[in-house]
Symmetry: C2
Subunit: 252 residues, 2 copies
């Protein structure tokens, strides 16, 4: 596939992920912040010193790892060294170059300290189970969206390897940063997210026409965290990319 065609396909995945993320944020946002679910040890020694969200996320990852989730190049665990799959390995089609980029630690910090207080009203409603299972879904979809930067970067590279190769060889971050930045595309994303969040988050009239989520909140989450972190992944990926590897020179 040509770089252009791959980029179109990648963008359609990102576009569909907007629904996943908006739905997940709306679902989590129906509960209060419930700060206690993020505090290590707050639920007693039974969780091994983890917070409730830690525990649920960690255990969920173990199950998903067992059925091969983290063999897929678009999935990244939050906890290091997920257990080996119990299913036999699959021959996965991986268009990416080898890399070890995983910024889930930062995604979690940003999520807990910035995103949650943005989407949830302050306070504690004791809905700890629902809130933390909601968090797991939010975190997994945000991680997928942000790490998809690897696919974005690979397809941009393939679309114009001669442009990217010298900047990569020189490890020239600021040139690469400029090359992967397209303000028109970013504005398009923000505008589309605004529209979608308005449509999905508005509630219905007999619920008091109180929107379930403020569209500007979702736009802000994209603008301040999702898009910048996605570009950070793109940059890190390009800096690790070996120019001579297959992909660049593939017939298109």
């Amino acid at each position: 596939m040509s770089g252009e065609a791959v980029l179109r396909q990648v963008r359609s995945v990102l576009c569909r992920l907007e629904e996943t993320i908006i739905f997940a944020l709306i679902e989590r946002g129906q509960f209060l912040v419930n700060r206690v679910i993020y505090e290590p040890g707050a639920f007693g020694p039974e969780l091994g010193g983890e917070s409730l969200v830690d525990y649920l996320l960690h255990e969920t990852e173990k199950i998903h790892a067992s059925v091969r989730r983290y063999l897929s190049p678009d999935e990244h665990p939050f906890f290091p060294d997920p257990p080996a799959p119990i299913l036999p390995p699959l021959d996965m089609d991986d268009p990416l170059q080898p890399n070890n980029i995983n910024i889930n630690g930062r995604i979690r910090r940003v999520y807990e300290t910035e995103v949650v207080p943005h989407i949830c009203a302050p306070g504690d409603d004791k809905q700890y189970g629902s809130s933390s299972t909601g968090d797991v879904i939010c975190l997994q979809s945000l991680s997928r969206r942000i790490h998809y930067g690897k696919f974005v970067a690979e397809s941009k590279y393939r679309g114009n390897p001669d442009l990217y190769m010298p900047a990569i060889a020189a490890a020239d971050s600021s040139t690469l940063q400029a090359m992967i930045t397209d303000p028109a595309v970013e504005n398009e994303v923000l505008e589309r997210v605004r529209l979608k969040a308005s449509a999905y988050g508005r509630g219905t009239e007999d619920e008091g026409s109180q929107p379930m989520i403020d569209p500007e909140t979702v736009v802000e989450i994209y603008e301040r965290w999702i898009i910048p972190m996605n570009k950070e992944v793109q940059l890190a990926y390009l800096l690790q990319r070996q120019p001579g590897r297959p992909g660049a020179e593939e017939p298109t």
Copy 2:
């Protein structure tokens, strides 16, 4: 709280669950039916003869049980005998009378054989992990919605114990069935679900204005399965209800 006030509160939970269910159906519906994920043993002996969905649902329930999910009166496991919580028990506020109603077996059969083919296009896209984690979320939200019938029935009973007591004492199912049936309320639910599914499922124009889900599909799922099974739970609950127990005679 008076029966009327409880019923209002119960209905507002049911109303908010409509979003949860519609979002979950839309998310699952982006993948094909992928029949193989429902076939016991199809993923090899590693899953102990379970289907992929069995396995993920079962393992997810074990984690959730460990943090007390199934101590909550509005939660019902699909697999019998969930492990004991590792967290110390909570003093849960349970307005229900003791009962052992759990129709998750039927919910699963209906979901796999009727709902999935309704919301997913036929075929296999190999998105087994995403499809089955989507199934877990759909099944859990449908189960919660349907078993909420217990709270509906309890609040109807409390609203008019003198009306319900003789029919319960006589185990008169058909009278009880008539008493819990309110076509006006059912039509209101269906109309609201139609509106919500149109708003949330319509997609955006640059995605080709192809709706993500047909609103009539969601309406049909409510009409054919969710509402009837919810009423079935209401009826079963009333038939088990002991008239002399607290609740009926509480000051309102």
